[in-house]
């Protein structure tokens, strides 16, 4: 048997055979869910029937319509849908495409195309499945003469376990003389190995996963491989790439290998109604497995719950925006409360206590934290009064909480591991007792002979929520059901009911929204309400509001909610703890100190087990203890931000506002269930698919991100290969790697390529992967999406700049930062030169958070593609200049004086220096997005590395400088207050075409000449730096291809042709930035002696350097910096200095100063210091 075959069998052994109780329970649970959903579906969709009575389908792989749709259809029309294939119960398998191994497994089953269902529904009756059979059809079409075979085949599927002897008479009947007959026989044979002895003349080799050349010969082909044509739904040109050996949901799909033999093409072309259009094989592979990931997400309960939060945030957002649109909103709840109060106040007997308490709230803010009481449980039993007051847990397990043990599982070891881990961490007082329970169970076991079947076989289904009665018995959320059942034998389990959760949650949010719109959705069952304004308006006490809300919620949902109130979010949340269950508690500001002192630190939000352990090691257990710790110590221990937060929290201080409109910080997709790869390709494909899922989500949210984080869980060395939870990840090490992209993206392909790179850089064993997660951060709106260059989400450069946190201690003149974009439209040349918009604040001034002090320039990893120029004096803030090192300042000033003299000659072309910086900014609402900016211009890009935990211990997500734009800039006058901060200035857009043209004529002195679009005389002959390029390929030519330079700006990389004429050559290189950086070159030369020769030639043969060439040299130098070859840079600079300063022409020494300035700026950014030039 081949290795593949053996693996398959092994899998069968520990898969189907022993899934035992767990699978059985799961399957029955799914059936139940299906039955419960069916009436609901029928209600929703009028058209229902019972045509599929008695039919139970199982969908295998990707189908059209999707498995979900088929499930719905089966619900509507009386059929059954099995999530898991069962030989005895499933009557039909629905598939459009089955891998080889599956076909082997299922050859005696009715495998039907999904059209059978849709057509049956159309026809209103159950059609015969015969003509929809996946194999039979092929057979019938390819070999119409062989009638007995389809008919025989039709007989067989009725039998679930066909007699093994069946193959014998058949195969002897059809003498295998041609490959045609192989096909038949093989399809009919229940077991391939039974066939082998008969087909002795055939190649007895096991199936290969690679198509060998010999297989091209139909005669020598192995029968099993001749299976491939019928299962193939569409012609694939390249079988290799269409194979997708990703193993999801526990099954390893073997690569099936269709052989491009004439026979197969025949049979394929004979299919009259090809269900799927001929697609590119790559796409089809993606669609297939991508669908599986989507499917995983559509079934994962955690995913459901987690998406609800964003859904409800979205809901609150829409409420807000609707209110803004209409101007005013109606608050029925608020009105009702108002009325009630009026009535109450009118009745004299109550007014006394009313006025007494209304003195309490005062003008201070009041936050309400509304939290449903054990949400899942109370929703689950709201229509089951018999369960009220009993210990109830919501879990997926149905039975007694026991399952058969699977082989290869070492629960012992895992228990020991977690135990050791927790004891090592020194957490002695743990609030959630489940780990302790585990340990006690563990020690009890260890007395016996090591393994006690009773405890090792406990159900590992987690309890999502349990009632307060159950909690009294020691059951906790997140506990495994089996164990909980031991603690509380009367524990009842209730299945999940996502639909109901959603309904109840929505009702709760609607209730809250009827009072105010200042709601922050925390999750599906809890929300924060800022009641300050509301209370003032109503003149009510917080208690009154809370009880009104609670009554409303109870009436509308039938579930109880608790409300905690406090002057800030922290206190409100802590008050809720006291309020629960079904109560309310107002934490008055005077009580805060006493209240918080006794709380354990772990009850503070953000203090989890590990931080709790760390604090415990400092001797801090309660918030009172924590109050004794100094801010310095906390910050030293936990980093500046976390330390500060802790310091404030333990004093009950919290200044977070209730954010009704939240911006997403990250978009991610993660799967750590059922990840078992065998090959690198599978992992790569999985990553690709995960990237596609992320793409879907990004696009769904209309966002693009720049930072990618790949999180993987790897089996811990020595941990058992199979964890005790089926498909779970077991004991793992979690690793994460991030990368910052040059530009924000929502393209799955781009993400995939980056992530695969990251993945390989981690050097992991794919077999040990247990979880993979992908997160995209640094989000911004999809404003520069190519299809929508002037979309409503457009953000201006200003926004981008405001979003950026400049690293401290940088002083710069003449650095232009602008956003790189991938717009597909050529912007109007002077689009950003618009009248000043008063609303625009000055960039770089409004920063709400303090700079992390430890972030030194050394941490900024810089990548530069091009240079920087010195802006004109009018645009430079004096204070910035003054802050520069004397040497630099001198040079800047020198260049100004020089320029001034030069400029007087062509002053007419000089762009008028703007009176106010904001005139250079496009206002947020203006149509030309930042996309308009650097199109086709030379772009300098400085992604830095955000967050240096190396020095802080916490990760601060700092925004990056994306790109620095050369050529065009203006420096903003910056308030002196901020002079110590890295100054960013905004560049004025300049049409690339103009710029390119100008290059031909330009010299250093003409840098600011913008409008001579039609004059591009080439004054000089080609300089030495341009030698590698054909002389005809001058910039003027580029003009005629306005699209090219823009492409380049997407690709972001000027490889070896800094001369603009080389732009065209680089055009298709959009992916080139993913390739490892080649050595930087100057006009093709990379060896130092060549560079020297080149430079010497340049300086000695040309009297006046051209700007273009200077930029080239600068780019080369910045490339060297980026390539971390400072030694060479030093040599080059020193050589140039010698050459150029000796030159008779003063222009040369000016050029050197210019180059040096730019290089120094880049070095400063990268290393935080400037080169010492002696």
């Amino acid at each position: 048997m081949s290795r593949d075959g053996r693996r398959k069998r092994d899998r069968d052994d520990n898969g189907w055979a022993s899934r035992g109780g767990y699978m059985a329970a799961k399957v029955s649970k799914l059936d139940e869910q299906f039955k419960m959903d069916a009436p609901r579906e029928k209600q929703k969709d009028g058209a229902c029937s019972s045509i599929f009575t008695g039919v139970a389908i199982y969908v295998n792989g990707y189908t059209d319509p999707t498995a979900d749709e088929l499930r719905r259809l089966m619900m509507l029309h009386g059929g059954q849908f099995h999530m898991y294939y069962s030989r005895s119960k499933t009557t039909h398998i629905i598939a459009t495409n089955l891998p080889n191994s599956k076909i082997q497994e299922l050859r005696d089953q009715k495998v039907v195309r999904p059209e059978w269902i849709t057509d049956s529904i159309k026809a209103g009756r159950l059609l015969s499945y015969l003509q929809y059979q996946l194999y039979a059809k092929q057979k019938g079409l390819s070999f119409p003469s062989l009638l007995p075979i389809p008919s025989l085949n039709n007989l067989i599927p009725g039998l679930n376990n066909p007699a093994p002897s069946l193959g014998k008479p058949l195969s002897s009947h059809h003498t295998p003389t041609s490959s045609h007959s192989h096909l038949h026989i093989d399809n009919l044979l229940p077991q391939p190995n039974q066939y082998n002895p008969l087909a002795g003349h055939l190649n007895p080799q096991p199936s290969h996963s690679l198509p060998l050349p010999s297989h091209l010969n139909p005669q020598s082909r192995h029968p099993r491989q001749s299976d491939s044509p019928p299962e193939k739904p569409f012609p694939l040109d390249n079988p290799n790439s269409s194979n997708s050996p990703v193993r999801l949901n526990g099954s390893h799909h073997n690569a099936f290998t269709p052989n491009p033999s004439p026979l197969e093409t025949n049979s394929l072309s004979a299919i009259p109604s090809n269900p799927a259009p001929p697609d590119s094989d790559h796409q089809s592979a993606l669609a297939k497995t991508g669908g599986i990931i989507s499917e995983f997400y559509s079934h994962s309960r955690l995913h459901h719950i987690s998406t609800w939060r964003s859904e409800f945030s979205e809901y609150v957002n829409t409420l807000q925006s609707r209110r803004r649109a209409t101007g005013a909103a109606t608050f029925p709840g608020r009105d009702r409360l108002k009325r009630q109060r009026r009535e109450v106040c009118l009745s004299p007997d109550v007014s006394v206590c009313c006025s007494g308490s209304s003195a309490a709230p005062g003008p201070q803010s009041c936050i309400l934290h509304v939290d449903m009481d054990c949400f899942f449980v109370s929703v689950g039993i709201r229509h089951r009064p018999d369960l009220k007051g009993k210990p109830v847990a919501v879990t997926s397990n149905r039975g007694s909480g026991r399952v058969a043990q699977r082989p290869g599982v070492d629960r012992q070891l895992e228990l020991q591991y977690y135990q050791r881990k927790s004891s090592h961490a020194g957490v002695s007082e743990r609030k959630d007792g489940d780990l302790e329970e585990m340990t006690s169970a563990e020690s009890h076991v260890s007395h016996g002979n090591g393994v006690d079947p009773d405890t090792t076989c406990l159900s590992m289904a987690e309890i999502a929520s349990c009632s307060y009665e159950a909690r009294q018995a020691g059951v906790r959320n997140g506990m495994f059901f089996g164990q909980a059942k031991q603690l509380c034998p009367s524990l009842q389990s209730v299945p999940y009911d996502f639909q109901a959760y959603k309904e109840v949650a929505l009702a709760m949010y609607e209730t809250l929204a009827s009072y105010t719109h200042n709601i922050e959705a925390l999750s599906c069952d809890e929300a924060l309400v800022d009641g300050s304004a509301l209370l003032v308006e109503l003149g009510a006490t917080p208690e009154e509001l809370a009880s009104a809300i609670r009554t409303d919620v109870r009436e509308r949902t039938g579930c109880t909610a608790s409300v905690g109130m406090g002057s800030n979010i922290l206190l409100a949340r802590m008050a809720t703890r006291k309020a629960k269950p079904d109560g309310q508690y107002l934490l008055r500001s005077e009580e805060v100190d006493d209240f918080i002192r006794d709380h354990t630190v772990t009850s503070l939000p953000g203090v989890g087990r590990s931080m709790g352990a760390k604090l415990a090691s400092l001797g801090v257990r309660s918030c009172g203890d924590l109050q004794q710790v100094s801010l310095q110590q906390l910050q030293k221990e936990f980093g500046p931000r976390t330390g500060q937060t802790l310091f404030r929290f333990c004093r009950g201080l919290d200044d977070r506002p209730v954010r009704s409109e939240k911006e997403r910080k990250s978009v991610s997709a993660e799967m750590n269930y059922n990840i078992r790869f065998t090959q690198v390709d599978e992992a790569e494909l999985f990553l690709t698919n995960l990237s596609m899922e992320v793409q879907k989500r990004l696009q769904g949210a209309g966002l693009r991100g720049r930072r990618l984080t790949l999180k993987v869980m790897v089996r811990k060395v020595g941990a058992p290969v199979e964890p005790s939870k089926y498909g779970g990840h077991g004991i793992c090490d979690s690793l994460a790697r991030s990368v910052t992209l040059a530009q924000s993206t929502d393209s799955g392909q781009l993400i995939a390529s980056e992530v695969i790179k990251l993945f390989h850089a981690m050097r992991l064993e794919v077999q040990d992967l247990r979880g993979v997660g992908l997160q995209v951060q640094l989000l911004d709106g999809a404003h520069s999406a190519p299809h929508d260059p002037s979309g409503p989400k457009t953000r201006s450069i200003r926004d981008m700049l405001l979003a950026q946190r400049p690293p401290a201690q940088h002083n710069h003149t003449g650095v232009c930062v602008c956003e790189k974009s991938s717009s597909a439209s050529v912007p109007p040349p002077f689009s950003t030169l618009r009248p000043p918009s008063p609303a625009d604040p000055i960039p770089g001034t409004s920063k709400e958070e303090p700079l992390p002090t430890t972030r030194t320039p050394n941490h900024v990893r810089t990548r530069l593609n091009l240079s920087i120029e010195v802006p004109s004096p009018s645009q430079v803030d004096r204070s910035v200049l003054d802050a520069l090192p004397a040497e630099l300042r001198e040079q800047v000033e020198r260049s100004w004086t020089h320029r001034d003299t030069e400029r007087s000659h062509n002053g007419s072309h000089h762009r008028p220096s703007s009176p106010h910086p904001s005139s250079l900014l496009s206002s947020p609402s203006s149509p030309p997005p930042p996309a308009a900016l650097p199109v086709g211009t030379l772009v300098l890009q400085i992604p830095n590395q955000p967050g240096q935990p190396g020095s802080t211990g916490i990760i601060l997500e700092l925004p990056d400088f994306s790109q620095v734009h050369t050529q065009t800039f203006s420096l903003m006058p910056i308030p002196p207050l901020h002079t110590h901060i890295f100054h960013v200035s905004v560049s004025v857009c300049l049409n690339p075409l103009l710029q390119l043209k100008q290059v031909g004529a330009g010299r250093v002195k003409r840098r600011y000449k913008k409008k001579n679009a039609n004059s591009s005389p080439t004054k000089k002959g080609p300089s030495p730096l341009k030698r590698p390029h054909p002389p005809g390929n001058r910039p003027v030519k580029v003009l005629q291809h306005p699209l090219r330079p823009r492409d380049l700006s997407n690709g972001l990389k000027l490889e070896n042709g800094p001369s603009t004429s080389s732009l065209k050559q680089d055009v298709p290189e959009t992916l080139s930035k993913f390739t490892p950086r080649p050595e930087p070159t100057l006009a093709g030369a990379c060896d130092f002696t060549d560079i020297r020769t080149l430079l010497r030639e340049w300086v000695t043969t040309i009297s006046e350097p051209m700007e273009e060439d200077i930029l080239q040299v600068v780019k080369y130098c910045t490339d060297l910096i980026e390539d971390k070859d400072l030694e060479k840079l030093d040599l080059v600079i020193k050589y140039m200095k010698r050459l150029m300063q000796q030159s008779v022409e003063s222009v040369w020494s000016m050029a050197f100063d210019f180059i040096l300035d730019n290089v120094q700026v880049v070095v400063q950014q990268t290393y935080g210091s400037t080169l010492k030039i002696t």
Binding site: E684, R763, Q945, K1124, S1169
Partner: protein
């Protein structure tokens, strides 16, 4: 012929071993060349076939040794970005920084989706690396020519700039007991008006390293 692949677990170890050995030599030599300690405590030794100076002060040696022992796991995991030898004046303000910027070359490009194992005959690889390291050592020994003299009474410390979340692991795992890493003070990291003097860049198949010195503009203060 033995070949090393990136996938090998011990590959990182090999790199770390080589680098740590080199760093030890380099630190001793820097301390000698920059006259942090009196030249009397140094002895002439031979390493990489060139004469180097090595301290024979047991406590100093132990400190350097321990430090590098703790650096090694970071280099192994490619977590160390820079290893910095900081020379500080009496007020503990840095006057000079010898920065060893280490980058291990990335594995693959998108064009080559499968990591092709780097097949290098270890003999030639190692001798090539040794040549490169020797060049760096020689550069260190003559770096006093390009640097200003240090004020008297200098001390030194070793900083490591880590990548990403390496510090969190470092906190968890102390390689040597009672010899933990601490986050560097701002004062130790920040240098006024630093001047950068590149000394040497070496590029080999397994590691890329460049050494540069950052020097405070006004040393005597």
């Amino acid at each position: 012929m033995t070949t090393l692949t990136r996938q090998d677990l011990n590959f990182g170890q090999v790199v770390a071993d080589i680098l740590c050995e080199f760093l030890e030599v380099a630190i001793h030599l820097i301390l000698y060349v920059r006259e942090v300690y009196p030249s009397g405590i140094f002895q002439k030794r031979k390493k990489y076939n060139v004469p180097v100076q090595m301290s024979c002060h047991p406590e100093l040696n132990q400190y350097i040794h321990d430090t590098l022992h703790c650096v090694k796991p970071l280099i192994e995991k490619n977590d160390a970005e820079k290893v910095v030898v900081v020379i500080m004046d009496k007020e503990h303000h840095p006057v000079e920084r010898f920065v060893f910027e280490i980058s291990q070359p990335p594995l693959l490009s998108i064009r080559h989706p499968r990591p092709t194992p780097i097949r290098i005959p270890s003999d030639t690889l190692l001798s090539h690396v040794e040549q490169l390291l020797r060049a760096v050592i020689l550069k260190i020994s003559v770096c006093d020519a390009v640097l200003e003299n240090n004020p008297p009474g200098c001390t030194f410390t070793v900083l490591v700039h880590t990548r990403e979340a390496a510090t969190r692991n470092m906190e968890k795992v102390q390689v040597i007991k009672d010899f933990p890493w601490i986050v560097a003070d701002e004062q130790e990291v920040h240098m006024q008006e630093p001047r950068l003097i590149p000394l040497k860049t070496m590029t080999s198949d397994i590691v890329k390293m460049q050494l540069y010195v950052e020097e405070r503009a006004q040393k005597a203060s």
